[in-house]
Subunit: 605 residues, 2 copies
């Protein structure tokens, strides 16, 4: 791992696998086999080099700002956050790219037979042969496998960025995809309690999808579609949302855009509401998929509004969202010169406690969930008002996954009047509520015709197969089946799985965040971390991974405090039991490792 | 339509609907109801204004460069190209945005009750009421409906760009989607011979898709996928391409990425191979979908390598692609400071003559399509060589749509060795060859592991439903049905439709470009244009549209010469006959209009 010596903490260690700044900040590495006074003859390469160098410098600056600007973290912690690791990989990659350019230039222009990197079947780049051809020392340090995979002679700068980000974000998910647990065929495979999926009603869905009405094949379904989503599906989505969101008046199909997944909708919104570098505020912890989506294309910054788990005088609830916190984050971002164009809210919010924030005034009746501290509504109303000119994106993807029967979900679409309806954009999809994330369906509902039109353009690259649009339409249309069969069964199973997992957590004395909706619980494992840092959190995560259990750690959700994990419980009982068995094993291992460590520390003192 | 007075041609006309430059280049329009010395108190708006102004200036510069740099076109022509119209709409939009900002600032800060634009149900913005509230003249010219739809108070700059581009590109297509011809239900609806679709085998496909093997619903298909494409489908694609492309060795599933359509694949390639503003060379005329795809996200310029229809000493074939033309375009682009990262080739090429350019050396045998002038191979080999460091993207989307039985298609993947296999990227999908564009399936095959990895990241936002991936796998797997039923029938029907359409064209004495593959013929209607300009081409296109016939005009394909239209003939005979009936009617109308015009001209002289 290439790392940079920053600060004065370990100056003596900046040797073998640590580059000193002078290696690359002041002088460019001289192409292998070339004297410094030999300048390549073709000058056309230099603008490219310059650009890469500038990109490099920019990446560097961001890196160091990141290193020094985070308060309340120790140096140790700062150096090991995921973002910094990524940036390091990117930096080493950019440097390598410069060197590659110089080398290839040297090879072609100066007619030196310098062997170019060869690729093996894994796509890793090998430089090993080079030393055999020359006695000169290699000016470039050897890269680890992980970094070498990011080295590129062919990708653009943004291509490298994307590749680095994808590999670091999806490495473990991809390992799970290749080696999934199966009760008969692969008992040693990965169990995934880290991806927010509802696997509890596969049987019901399979049955429903095999019914006769699902398999219609019409010509229009096989041909190029209306890019905004087929009219029949948009009509059905409007009807469905009118009914399940209890909208005071019929929702309009013309306000609906259908794309292949909620992240596609979010990405498209980020594209049309922000210019590159502009920002959305998002209460953190928040869904990691949004971070990936907003970076892939839109290059929009998601500024976390950090919520804290500890209850204090001002924070009367764990992970409490307040208007003050939002406003403070907004003003701070503005002071830093950031352009905040909107706010992203999840409704119902989790880990944000359900009862408190929710309870919107809907259809004139006051339900039992209406509380004095109607923070969600306050935040929403406050920030959608003209003062800050903010858009509000409301993600209601868990709206039908409320498993506590005493709670009623209140959609933003149920409000009699929205504070700023032209700047309120609601996202919903079937991935979580119907457990069919593989369908790739997401819908936008907005009164803003300009946004509808601009987001529709993205249907050209994010549309769903016609025959799937038909199936979705049939699925949403059958309210009787949904109300009488699917929802009661799903809620029942969610409740049972939640009961099982929370009982287990109680027995293990692991604090968790109770919730009455969604597919996951937030658990606090900080007692297993020593010291309680994000690096230790990462190591514990890896220990779970080594035991073929995929969890999500708080860091991936931009949680402010190390030690939190997100545990998806919406899985069938036998698999959940086995997962918890592995979970307990890991914690036992970790406990033993901590004891050994503490003993060693004590002996040293 | 807002237009700008450029050059000295019509200075006197720069009055009512023509803005003079001074309106906006030197001084900002003063907010309505505000004196020039009244500056809004909240200064936070000014950076935003400045940015929009800078964007505006940039758009302006591009506009004028575009106006003045195109050689060989008359001023009349230059002013009316589609690109310029778009730019004009964008400019007026940006200006309007500035004014909106100033107005809203004026309304809130200076407490002037200036009514903000109201939206009607069509999303058009109306400014009409304003004049009633004040006697002052409106400093802003009234916008047409079309432009007003692009006015935005909420969208980002790129959001406006995208919206403008989408509306101007898909307006007519969307009209067709809303009002499709149906032989019983809507006999007066649009017939679309402008979108490249094969509607000839809907019956076969419908039957095949209803077979038992298609309707498998497994848990894994309903859950989050492998973002690169499900392994079973990538394996099948590799097997399928090995077989149908006659690859010398088995293609590797690890080199396949599956996304929701070939345009998504193209867009992802543009993202990872180019940085914003960099370019690909594309022989023109070329598929308009690529232009839209590359602009939506990647912001990559497609530089047309203009091919000419006229046969000359150097152009021995109509629309002939030569190495010289490619190299010339490349060097010219470089001289202009453009960074060309690659070349996009279509194989088989249409209108580029089929026999000539094709004929790659495959599996050691020389087929009848091997000619001396193997231009395609030459171009491909030449440009993929290291000298220019270019990527080559080969679109083989029509590979199974060769309907002349005496011709054998030769895929780039059939070559024993690729000139630069790490920079050769092949795209294929089922939209054209299997007539199922509504499936949204596209595949990339590349040996470059870095490109595979980087493009895979885009699967996160461009994936296909699991159940559709299953259907595609079953479809591609059944080689027996494809070889014995589908392909012979499809080729037969393509041949018949082609025969019908070309006989009709001959009877009408309309020159056309003969082809032996693909779904369309290029026809030359320049004898119906007077003068022969792109503006007249557009007017003729509109006349077809008024008669509910959607065609593609050459301009949308970046054709260099006005008068060419692309006519998709892969439609069932009754609809094709009706379409040709409307076609003849329009040409008759046009002929009569031309005669009237010529008479009027003669009388004036």
């Amino acid at each position: 791992m290439v790392s940079f010596s920053v600060g004065a903490r370990q100056p003596a260690e900046a040797s073998k696998d640590t580059w000193s700044m002078s290696h690359w900040s002041d002088t460019l590495p001289v192409p292998f086999g070339q004297r410094r006074d030999q300048v390549p003859r073709d000058h056309s390469i230099y603008p490219q080099l310059l650009e890469i160098t500038l990109h490099l410098r920019q990446a560097m600056r961001e890196h160091f700002v990141q290193l020094t600007s985070r308060q309340g973290l120790s140096l140790e912690e700062r150096r090991h956050t995921q973002a910094i690791r990524e940036k390091e990989a990117l930096l080493s990659c950019l440097i390598r790219r410069m060197i590659n350019l110089l080398q290839s230039e040297a090879a072609s222009d100066l007619e030196l037979q310098v062997p170019l990197p060869s690729e093996d079947s894994r796509g890793d780049v090998k430089y090993g042969q080079r030393d055999q051809l020359s006695g000169q020392p290699d000016p470039v340090p050897q890269l680890s496998d992980c970094e070498a995979a990011f080295v590129s002679r062919d990708l653009s700068n943004r291509g490298i960025d994307i590749s680095v980000f994808y590999q670091s974000s999806f490495q473990d998910y991809n390992a799970y995809q290749k080696d999934k647990y199966h009760k008969d065929k692969n008992t040693l495979g990965f169990i995934n309690l880290g991806t927010s999926e509802n696997k509890l009603c596969m049987d019901l869905m399979t049955e429903r999808l095999q019914e006769r009405d699902m398999n219609c094949i019409e010509d229009a379904l096989l041909q190029y579609p209306d890019w905004r989503g087929q009219p029949f599906l948009r009509e059905e989505v409007a009807r469905f949302l009118t009914y399940y969101c209890r909208a005071p008046t019929r929702l309009d199909p013309e306000n609906v855009v259908v794309l292949n997944g909620c992240c596609s909708v979010f990405s498209a919104l980020a594209m049309v509401l922000c210019d590159p570098g502009e920002a959305f505020l998002v209460p953190a912890p928040f869904y990691g998929g949004f971070a990936f989506s907003s970076r892939l294309y839109a290059k929009v910054e998601l500024i976390p509004v950090y919520l804290e788990s500890e209850v204090t005088v001002t924070n009367t609830q764990p992970f409490q969202l307040t208007v003050d916190k939002l406003e403070e984050a907004l003003l701070e971002a503005r002071l830093e010169g950031k352009k905040v164009r909107g706010l992203v809210l999840i409704n119902p919010q989790n880990p944000h406690p359900f009862r408190k924030p929710l309870g919107l005034e809907c259809r004139g009746r006051h339900s039992q969930t209406l509380w004095d501290e109607d923070v969600f509504l306050q935040s929403f109303t406050f920030l959608s008002k003209n003062k800050y000119n903010l858009h509000v994106i409301i993600d209601e993807i868990y709206m039908l996954s409320v498993f506590d029967e005493s709670i009623t979900f209140h959609s933003v679409l149920s409000m009699k009047s929205l504070p700023d309806r032209n700047r309120t954009h609601v996202i919903w999809g079937t991935s979580k509520d119907f457990g069919i994330s593989g369908f790739r369906f997401g819908a936008l509902y907005t009164h803003n015709k300009e946004v509808v039109s601009a987001v529709s353009a993205f249907g050209y690259l994010h549309s769903i197969s016609g025959i799937v649009q038909h199936k979705l339409c049939q699925l949403l249309h059958n309210t009787e089946w949904i109300d009488k069969v699917y929802l009661p069964t799903n809620c029942n199973r969610l409740r049972e799985a939640h009961k099982y997992i929370t009982a287990k957590l109680k027995a293990l004395e692991i604090p968790f965040h109770n919730s009455s909706s969604g597919l996951y619980v937030w658990i606090n494992l900080k007692k297993y971390l020593d010291p309680c840092t994000f690096e230790e959190e990462r190591l514990l995560y890896c220990r779970f991974l080594d035991n073929k259990l995929l969890l999500s750690r708080g860091k991936a959700y931009m949680c402010k405090e190390p030690g939190w994990f997100c545990l998806i419980f919406a899985d069938e009982l036998p698999r959940l039991k086995l997962a918890m068995h592995r979970f307990c094993d890991v914690l036992q291992e970790q406990k033993e490792a901590l004891i050994v460590k503490q003993l060693e520390d004590a002996m040293r003192e």
